[in-house]
């Protein structure tokens, strides 16, 4: 029977089918971090259970770490306790841990791929919804809750209902100034924040294939913002080329052998999806969000919708009240005091190069504070090696040390109450970047242009 890419990977990982429509699914890679793991370790201890396959786990500290002076003790007591607890737990159970100061430390969804841990055909989970990022390699990757973190620790398996399948095809050539972030924001604003719930997405089409691995990761990362547990892209030469030479990836003849298998990880021509959507790349413009969920997006030169239809009317009004914006207005020209470039969506070296390329020789506007937080220690090092740090410094941007930072503001990097932030992160929920903060999601290019202009401008004309 013809199979989708998703079916091929899923079916290979089913240990057992249980009556009642659920599967026991084997997990190849389990990533953990300080915020959603402590209660899972405690659960195992209460039950006196060992870690079943510690070699399939990798830990890092990212969610609440400071982004300055990481060599010093963490000042904030609760954060320090949580990070120390992770270190203790990993030591006790002999789990690989890339803590603060380690050359491989970084955002969990950034380090997996760059270390060659994320590979095609794998099942990957983490107690974080943006685990969907790893799907860019043709892996089944999805976020889980802490009870499930404990289940994987105890058995290397999860009990899961098989989701339905959806294919989103984007064909054609991207216009000037349009990045992969704009593709996914365009898709979410068209289909809605619950359109993917119950589904696993495959992204396909020439516009997707033309993207680098970094670009593909940005797309898959935001699958969860449509409600989908995950999104994946069939592995191809771009994927294999990226993997080659990565620290923990197969090499030599092992790599050649496994690539033969990876090449079979494509959707069969006559496979049927439960749902299909098609987009034309030419219709996509640089995007901005105006509301309090990632589906509330408009083209950069578009107008904020006057009202939403029917059931969403109340949410639309609540969002605009919170954002202090008016339906019918354009966001162009809006003064912005904060710019955040970072997060598991857009903190990779390609994103930093994009920003550097735009801001080189320019200076940020005086009203703006511009924060750049690289996704990992390795990216920070590459940026320095390429001299991007100097470019950022001369432009007045603050280049920090790696972590999740102002994406969810668990550390000190917060947007003040009532202030706007153009952010390359993934969520514009109320209070996401700090209590009362107002987030406008955008691509790294739009964020860079905003920092220079001190207001939102159409980056295509600059």
């Amino acid at each position: 029977m013809a199979k989708t890419l998703f079916d091929k990977v899923w079916d290979k990982h089913v240990v057992k089918q249980i009556p009642g429509g659920v599967n026991v699914l084997y997990i190849d890679l389990h990533l953990i971090h300080e915020v959603t793991s402590p209660q899972a370790f405690a659960e195992l201890e209460t039950r006196n259970l060992p870690i079943f396959r510690k070699e399939k786990m990798v830990a890092t500290a990212d969610h609440n770490v400071p982004t300055i002076n990481q060599h010093l003790e963490i000042k904030e007591e609760l954060s320090r306790f949580q990070v120390e607890k992770l270190g203790e737990n990993c030591k006790k159970h002999d789990i690989t841990y890339y803590g603060l100061g380690h050359e491989y430390q970084g955002i969990v969804h950034v380090i997996g791929p760059e270390l060659g841990l994320t590979l095609p055909g794998k099942t990957i989970v983490c107690g974080d919804s943006h685990t969907s990022t790893h799907g860019a390699f043709g892996a089944i990757a999805f976020g889980i809750g802490t009870s499930q973190v404990a289940q994987v620790m105890a058995s290397q398996c999860l009990i899961q209902t098989k989701p339905k399948t959806m294919r989103i095809t984007v064909d054609g050539k991207l216009s000037k100034g349009v990045l992969s972030k704009d593709i996914i924001l365009h898709i979410i604003s068209t289909l809605g924040v619950a359109s993917g719930t119950g589904y696993f997405i495959e992204y396909a089409g020439s516009a997707i294939q033309s993207l680098s691995m970094e670009g593909r990761m940005t797309i898959c990362n935001m699958s969860i913002e449509m409600g989908a547990r995950g999104g994946m892209i069939a592995p191809d030469e771009t994927t294999f080329e990226y993997i080659k030479g990565k620290k923990f990836a197969p090499n030599g003849s092992d790599l050649d052998d496994i690539i033969k298998y990876w090449k079979t990880l494509t959707t069969d021509n006559d496979a049927v999806f439960d749902k299909e959507h098609h987009f034309d790349a030419a219709d996509i413009s640089p995007m901005l969000t105006y509301g309090t969920n990632p589906g509330m997006g408009v083209k950069i030169d578009g107008k904020i919708p006057l009202a939403a239809s029917g059931e969403n009317e109340k949410s639309h009004k609540k969002a605009l009240d919170y954002m202090h914006l008016k339906g019918g207005d354009s966001l162009l020209g809006k003064t912005i005091n904060h710019v955040f470039i970072g997060s598991c969506t857009n903190s990779r070296i390609e994103d930093l190069r994009e920003v550097a390329n735009y801001v080189k020789g320019k200076k940020k506007a005086e009203n703006v504070s511009a924060l750049i937080v690289p996704g990992s220690k390795q990216i920070e090092q590459i940026a320095k090696k390429e001299g991007l740090d100097t470019i950022f410094k001369e432009a007045g941007f603050s280049l920090r040390e790696p972590g999740c930072s102002a994406c969810l503001a668990m550390n000190e990097d917060k947007v003040p109450n009532g202030e706007y932030c153009v952010s390359t992160s993934n969520r514009n929920f109320e209070g996401r970047q700090g209590p009362g903060s107002r987030t406008i999601l955008a691509s790294p290019l739009v964020a860079a242009a905003t920092a220079i202009a001190g207001k939102i401008i159409d980056v295509r004309n600059s």
Binding site: V15, L49, K122, G143, Q151, E430
Partner: protein, 198 residues
């Protein structure tokens, strides 16, 4: 996990769509290493103002809405995978959440904590909100055994879906770890028979 028994309780209405987990429990309260005590932070920024004073018209601050069933708009629990959202709702004393649509991860987290997500039709949900907005709070009865939810003092009721495995777990208070541990031999056999290993 606590066994789920039939409940009859006042409905706590939150007629807003797309309530995300950052609203249920903001990230700044996730810096602890235990599961307890999150109830006081439930809907923190909708429940209290910037000076930590209760916002009087928010449902959790209104004495007439004292109950065990939260009723929320479509796509409840979207956003992050933080199980703290389910812990906060449970710790507050809520046993079931009713909505016309749930985000996937939230639904799984709820079920793993003995908190029942009950998916109803849009019209049933509207009816609950309508009654709640009128003279006195709506009262709901949730019977998991028969997979039925009914609106007390009316003839309205609906059946809801739950997969057979999870229903057994909820009724008997079993969790997934118990079951997975019983499969150790099968999991090892699976590992030993793999043609591709990572």
């Amino acid at each position: 996990m606590e066994k789920f028994k039939t409940i009859i309780s006042t409905a706590l209405p939150l007629p807003i769509n797309d309530i995300d987990t950052d609203q249920i429990i903001p990230a700044r309260y996730l810096k602890v290493t235990t599961k307890d005590g999150f109830g006081k932070f439930l809907f923190r920024d909708w429940r209290y103002d910037k000076k930590d004073q209760p916002i009087t018209d928010f449902v959790l601050n209104r004495p007439e809405y004292d109950g065990k069933i939260l009723v929320a708009g479509k796509n409840f629990g979207c956003g992050s995978s933080r199980e703290h959202a389910a812990w906060a709702i449970s710790d507050y004393g809520i046993k079931a959440v009713v909505s016309s649509f749930f985000a996937d991860i939230f639904k799984e987290n709820a079920l793993n904590n003995g908190l029942l997500p009950v998916q109803v039709s849009e019209s049933f949900l509207e009816e609950i909100f309508k009654i709640s907005a009128s003279s006195k709070p709506a009262v709901l009865k949730i019977d998991l055994e028969n997979q039925e939810i009914s609106l007390e003092d009316t003839s309205l009721s609906e059946n809801f879906e739950i997969n057979g495995y999870k229903k057994e777990c909820m009724i008997n208070g079993y969790d997934d770890i118990d079951y997975l541990l019983s499969l150790k031999k099968e999991i090892e056999d699976y590992e030993n028979n793999l043609s591709i290993t990572y």
